[in-house]
Symmetry: C2
Subunit: 744 residues, 2 copies
């Protein structure tokens, strides 16, 4: 999986391009003296970084398919572990045993108006040796689809989101008993079969439309970087917004003898069979769809008129899987902290791929490795971190964040006690720094970004991100950027290994990576190869080195800081923004209900329609009551006051070493106070009250998820309850900040 | 050509769907007594209307190709004249002799990387007998392209607007000495070769991308209504924004011995050869374009990656035309006014087509004919109009509004004296009433619309248009609709025969037609046939009848009104809106220059770019001075005051017959006061100061064109001058309204 950098980038920033950070300004969490030492350490760290290592490791690690359970995946884990060991890390491989379905039967046929079978195959292409390793490649499929043999007429459902089914309903088109075909995009793939099944469909095909990552976007592989007619996006369709990780061991580590539920009781498997296909396989199906022409926003780039279907064509899909339990291999490498060994700075990237995965995940992993090697060089020269540093290379991320989740669940108690920060990376490429994560770390990571030079331009990676936001922003976005000293970092939904740390355990997290100038369509296909990466992504690995610096500086500063560089001002500001958003959401839903109901009851809606379209009149929307947001507003106000008092109290003050240790613990545990042990409604695994992946968006984040999703589902009672829950959560945090102020 | 109904619809409205006009409310311009008589007359008019006449005439008139100069075109004119004569109209055919190029040689070849020749041909399709008349059809070409034999590399220029060439310049792509390929859409076709030539191109191809009117929009002909792979859009590329009509007789009628300029001095011929092609002809050219990938907004729906080109492929185009002088035949049919014979109500639709033209223009023409036949029935029963009614069927509209323009120029002096209103129609189909025209007639035409039932729903055509605007509008558009009693009518640019009346002579005009539920892609191709119309447009001709009612009521009310139903309140309100628009335009251009220059000078623009794109930094924009809009604001304020005084003075007052006649003349000549004999800058033929076709948009209207286009061209001196010109124009009008008030 990968960070969606563009989205992250679009949600941020501040300032003026000429403002670079003065080297004498104290770093957050450091005194002036400590800052000078730290900057010297960072210079030495830089001096060890070598782009050729990234290249060599990528070539080696992506040389063969290395998915969960593959021989080469295990070899990679052992290779990575050996490297960490050689750099002075206390390294081990932690194994888990997890459910992993692989295809036994994959048949998709159009049965009428003509009969033919889909290829379901990605052929090798000229000039890409990796693509020829057909025997070792996983077939094209979606992991955690159930078995099934279903037949029915086909219906095109666009992205397959709840809104798309509302459109179908207005058209009088039911998917009940039918097979849906959805295009990739618009929501996370696992949402498509989930919503299809909720609407009564019996099967789900997902194809890659060239509009989204094929020839519409750019030349296709091997001429260009984009998805060619045979490219298929593999991927997990596990219902991760419910819980990620091994479906049989929710909430506990999938160790050898763990208590497993029966597979038939596993809630995160799909309810209907689902399979991804290429656009060459989809084209004859789409060409034969009958019925009305779909709306403009539903149309892709294939040379056909897109129709809804519903009667023709008819399709059969038969899927059977080997439901094996497979071993997975997390590499865990530690450097014990010299002064505060029980405060942990954790850094991770996954090592497993769907096929060769040069981009996803090796491009991020090799940066992490070079970072660790340079830290090893520092160790060798006698330096020791104050806090404990843990480097992880996760297995089985692709199937549902399994390696990281099982590890986090296994070590939950110790992590809740000791984990200060988790820093994640995944794919990386040429372009702009994307920063997402906990807003208590927003000021910190802005400071890091200001200190890293962009490889292609004279400015810092932070300035470059800001420039991009300024240039692509609206006037009001620009004026916000200019009025705020930090760039806003994106809130985290899901899609990579930070989820168990942040959203289950309440560990402040960051997700970092470069991209935006390395577009393409190799994602989760056999064409995500070393050959592809070296032509289209970051062939000189200069952005790999930049990522190693961003994350290396982050780890070193967090590990060495005199006080942990958490900051509540940016967090409080952000929660204020989210609060305004949910209030506005309720207001605009109220106005929208009023206005659209009026159009319907006045007869205007009907009069505006083409009678030959035979659209059903939309149902009247329930009125939106005036919810009481005062408790939330009061809690935010209290949080602001507490934050401001803490800033005043702590300004320029020194603490004793013991007090600093206690304050550190209070600071990093503040993120735990944003979680509640009962979790979110209907998904208790997700405990964070500020950030969650959307129940109906998947990777896409929902901030203040309890309130926001209750509103979106028009459950006014639950919305009012959740306003109180979030308010109490924020009040608890404010009280803790008051306690922190009393240290001074 | 045709009315772009959607655009017109998007710019309007008011009220509440339950508000229908009471039949007892006096009609605008009528007393209560006169209203009752008029409504009785309209009932009788309705009783004569027969849909089958429209069908029969369409079948007859579109049976063969009937373009300018064709044998069947002349027969059609004679048939139409005979009909009018039989209905009691004093009818004649007025001939002109005009320049009309037809193709002698059409060769387009790709010369590298491979060699092949384009087909340049529209084949017949199954089930459409009209499409088989290959011998009588005009070949696919653009009239008034110059001769030429040019070769060069091909560059894709999107819609070929000035903004598109700015994008090319930023990419460092020059079209100098090259051939451009543009897609249809985004601007009027004649703008494409004009701007291409201004940028140094030597040739221009224009193709119909399936994104715009082909398979992307719906099934293609003959399965569906849309343009198939071989469909070509013919059309004039004369520089009509300079002046329409015969290129050799600007400003004077092209009668037999008119003084003609030499063809080489005719300014409205293109500067480079230009030819339209189908997408099947365009595809191999586009597939071979080299260079960078074009921006998202430039991409069409062909299954290729769209590139800019610039080196490959290379193309040769050779065009030669027969530059003949041909006779054209306008049908002019009169009913002399019984009381006010020197006040003329003129009604027109063209009869010539590019090929068979069932939709364009026969669908509008047959409504006009049925309207005239019903008026003939009224005449037969003894009724006589108070004012003179003139029905016209224009020839040679397709080549550049030639028939109407030559007639208007020939009779200019008499028209300036006598013409009260011109009502135009062109193509017509199923859907919503589009209303465009002079805002002194806005209240009048709203009243007509309220009285005509929509054929498909229970409501009036006015209510249906309003409903559509309410449903598709934003909240602020809805609230404007709800706060205003009339729907806003669109301002007229060009594209049909109202232009010489409105914009050259200053005759208040309306352009009316139904559409929006009859989409397709037959425009200007051999597939605009009776067969096509009967399947996809208005097969029952119920909207043809609705159009006959809208225009028939309009003609009858204008012809019979006790006082001409002109109204200055809506006009004044509209000019106020336009004034606010140009002020805001200047403000936003000032803000945009400031803001985008800052991004450039700060280095942000550069830092936000992908260095591998090698984009040139945009030039700094000239600062926008603070223009003095006070004279314009004062003139609008004066106009409002005068209008309000006139309303007060005239309310409920009766005039003598002689005074009414004088007031009528003052009212209809008020539109002349919106013109100036020196015309607009650089195009003296266009005299109207409120409405003009855009110099760089073609059909698209520019309101307050002198000011608006000076701003758009960043000519601040001219903008300030034009503010004064428009202000004086409005002051003159206000003084005349003051004079009108003194009648009471």
């Amino acid at each position: 999986m990968r960070v969606f950098l563009t989205t992250v980038l679009m949600t941020c920033m501040l300032g003026n391009l000429s403002l670079a950070q003065s080297p004498n300004t104290p770093l957050l969490g450091f005194t002036a003296r400590g800052t000078a030492d730290q900057r010297a350490l960072e210079s030495r760290f830089d001096s060890f970084l070598r782009a050729e290592n990234l290249r060599d490791w990528m070539k080696r690690l992506s040389a063969k398919p290395h998915h969960l359970g593959s021989a080469y995946g295990k070899q990679n884990a052992e290779f990575i572990a050996a490297q960490f060991k050689s750099w002075g890390f206390d390294t081990k491989i932690e194994e888990f045993e997890v459910l992993f379905p692989t295809p036994k039967t994959r048949i998709v046929q159009m049965t009428a108006p003509e009969k033919f079978s889909l290829k379901l195959n990605e052929p090798p292409v000229a000039g890409d040796a990796s693509s020829t390793q057909q025997k070792e490649q996983l077939p094209t499929y979606n992991a955690f689809s159930i078995d099934g043999d279903v037949s029915g007429p086909l219906v095109y459902v666009n992205y397959g989101t709840p809104a798309d089914y509302e459109e179908l309903e207005r058209r009088g088109i039911s998917v009940r008993g039918k097979i849906v075909i959805s295009r990739y995009g618009g929501s996370w793939r696992g949402i498509k079969p989930k919503v299809a099944a909720e609407n009564g469909a019996v099967g789900c095909l997902i194809y890659s439309d060239p509009r989204n990552d094929g020839y519409y976007q750019g030349d296709v592989y091997p001429k260009g970087a984009h998805r060619n007619e045979n490219g298929v996006q593999r991927g997990s369709v596990m219902d991760m917004p419910l819980y990620p990780g091994d479906p049989l061991t929710k909430g506990i580590g999938a160790v050898k003898n763990a208590k497993r539920i029966d597979r038939k009781n596993a809630e995160t498997l799909t309810k209907i069979p689902v399979l991804p296909i290429s656009y060459s396989d989809a084209l004859p199906l789409l060409r034969n769809l009958d019925g009305a022409v779909v709306p403009d926003a539903w149309r892709g780039a294939l040379p056909v008129t897109y129709h809804f279907g519903g009667t023709t064509p008819t399709v059969r899909m038969k899927l059977e899987f080997n439901w094996d339990i497979k071993k997975i291999y997390n590499v865990i490498a530690r450097i014990k902290g010299a002064e505060l060994p029980d405060q942990w700075i954790i850094r991770g990237n996954h090592h497993d791929a769907w096929v060769n995965g040069a981009d996803d995940p090796i491009s991020g992993l090799v940066a992490e490795m070079e970072e660790a090697r340079a830290i090893g060089e520092l160790l060798r020269s006698g330096w020791k971190p104050r806090r404990t540093i843990i480097y992880a290379a996760w297995d089985a991320e692709e199937q549902g964040l399994i390696g990281s989740t099982e590890w986090a669940e296994t070590h939950a108690d110790e992590l809740r006690q000791k984990a200060a920060v988790y820093i994640n990376t995944d794919s990386n490429g040429r372009g702009f720094l994307g920063m997402g994560g906990s807003h208590t770390l927003e000021k910190f990571i802005n400071g890091v970004g200001r200190d890293i030079p962009d490889p292609q331009t004279g400015v810092s990676v932070w300035e470059r991100s800001k420039a991009r936001q300024m240039v692509s922003g609206t006037e009001s976005q620009r004026s916000e950027l200019a009025s705020r000293s930090d760039l806003r970092i994106g809130a985290l939904g899901s899609g990579s290994d930070y989820t168990p740390f942040l959203q289950h355990l309440g560990i402040a997290s960051l997700n970092l990576g470069f991209g935006g100038e390395d577009g393409g369509g190799s994602y989760h296909s056999i064409y995500d190869s070393f050959e592809h990466y070296m032509r289209f992504s970051d062939p000189g690995f200069s952005y790999g080195i930049a990522l190693a610096k961003v994350c290396g500086y982050s780890v070193l500063r967090l590990a060495n800081a005199e006080t942990l560089p958490f900051d509540f001002e940016n967090f409080t500001d952000t929660v204020g923004v989210y609060t305004n958003e949910v209030v506005r959401l309720a207001d605009s839903m109220r106005e929208d209900a009023r206005s659209s109901n009026l159009l319907i009851t006045s007869g205007m809606w009907r009069a505006a329609q083409d009678p030959t379209d035979r659209l059903a009149t939309p149902k009247l929307k329930s009125e939106v009551p005036n919810l009481n947001f005062e408790p939330l507003r009061n809690a935010v106000a209290k949080l602001k006051l507490s934050t401001s008092e803490f800033q005043k109290a702590s300004a320029g003050r020194q603490l004793s070493q013991a007090d600093r240790r206690s304050l550190d613990e209070l600071l990093y545990k503040s993120e735990r106070l944003m979680t509640r042990s009962e979790g979110l409604p209907r998904r208790d695994w997700f405990r964070h009250q500020i950030y969650a992946p959307g129940f109906y968006t998947g990777y896409g984040v929902k901030t203040l998820p309890g309130i926001r999703e209750a509103l979106e589902q028009r459950d006014w009672t639950e919305a009012q309850q959740q306003i109180l829950v979030v308010s109490r959560t924020l009040e608890g945090l404010a009280a803790e900040i008051d306690r922190a102020a009393r240290f001074f």
